[in-house]
Amino acid sequence: MRHWWVWVWLCLGATLFPPVHAAGPSTDKVLNPGAELWNEVRGRQAAPATTQVQGRDSQVLVNEWGEHFRDYRRQRFVRYSGYLLAGVVSLLLLYHLLHGGLEVTESGRKVLRFELTERIVHWLLAGVFLLLTVTGVVLAFGRFVVLPWSGPEVFAVIASASKEGHNLFGPLFIVALLWFFVLFVGRNLPRLVDIYWLIRAGGMLGGGHPAAGFFNGGEKIWFWILTIGGLAVSTSGVVLDFPALVEGRNPLVLALVVHGIAAVVLIAASFGHMYLGTLGVKGSLEGMKSGLVDEAWAHAHHVLWYEELNRKAQAESSAREQGQ
């Protein structure tokens, strides 16, 4: 199992990478001694090579993954992730133009939705995520988007700053993500009502708001995308941040692929989250800023939570009455 990562790579990259080396050993009538040598060099017989130079993969004469990496990065990653991000943005824009944001008439009474610590951790995670997104996007797409009008000198400064910032802020993301996970996982465990909510597409089908608890089905999906995607970017990020953890360059390439795909998925999903948290559902942002949401908002979007809250308040007040 020395090459376990090849399998991981194959599974992950199967759709992105066409088989390249289908050609078998030379079928020429006369064997070319040079061809034999180069077969050897390419490692097809897996004969270990040696060198006196110390360095990462110094003994490897020909890096077989090099061309795949180039193909993945230039032909696929940049193109498809660009499509994905632009697609999500335009879908959201289209939705907003056709449908508009959800708004409920305010009752004026506020209930506490998020504690101070929860809000702080949310914005810590959001802030770090934003910094990583900006720096990451500069590294991934800057050459095609920023460089043409900024010129190489200016872009080099931006990119260098992005690289350092990205490497430094990465570990903060892990800390924030773990903290966030601990705080919110309890309320994000899937429940039956969430499936119903999802079938109704959160109220887009069938009219009216389907019932939801503290978090609805959509929010829970986002939470788990964030958790799993976050785990993927974090582990691959740790490998990239601490290259000494792995040997050779292939694990680094693999990590880079995982990192890029997971990050793009996260960014695309976060666009949806940001839209729904601000323009999409009015009053949500306030809940994460001050911690307070309007009772009408709570009733409209999270009726089960709202009812539970009322039950608790009633139980408390009756207990207080009994106590006196």
Binding site: K29, A49, Q52, R73, F155
Partner: protein, 211 residues
Amino acid sequence: MARMKFYCDAERCIECNGCVTACKNENEVPWGVNRRRVVTIKDGERGERSLSVACMHCSDAPCAAVCPVDCFYTTKEGVVLHDKDICIGCGYCFYACPFGAPQFPEDGAFASRGKMDKCTFCAGGPEETGSADEFRKYGRNRLAEGKLPLCAEMCATKALLAGDANVIADIYRQRVVNRAASSLAHGVELQRQKFRATPERERTRTRGSEG
């Protein structure tokens, strides 16, 4: 204009590492960096061969394709060079290069690698030709002085060839022809034995396919 290439003749390379030393000395490359290295396959076995590798100055260079800051450029002599003032040390070129040519002075935590360094075909860099800055960052600009890379010039067996691709191709073609003649004289079987200790099954299949 001439298109510059290296060619290393594995039949001649004797793994003396003279090219490596010459390169380091001539260009005063930083500690931990070797722009050129000699790799030996089947060390100590039958069919042992050595090759001296550095940047091959690809016509369609993968390093340039993946670089996020586009710091590579190809000179009119076909030499692939990069600008260290623009390089951010991300390591992508190293992932993409078929030959492992790009080198980094560090391999530290938080991916601090320093600026990438690689063989310049002794052609310096984007700085003013012959300037101290150019030498500090990229090494000697021998090409501007009308000289070829020192590694090739120093090669005792003339295994490592550098220069105009056409000339080198001619030299190599001449060598192949000469060797073919000599192998015909001594028999192909012998020659094959030397290259490769083929397993019995493999040998049969290959022979079969030969007809």
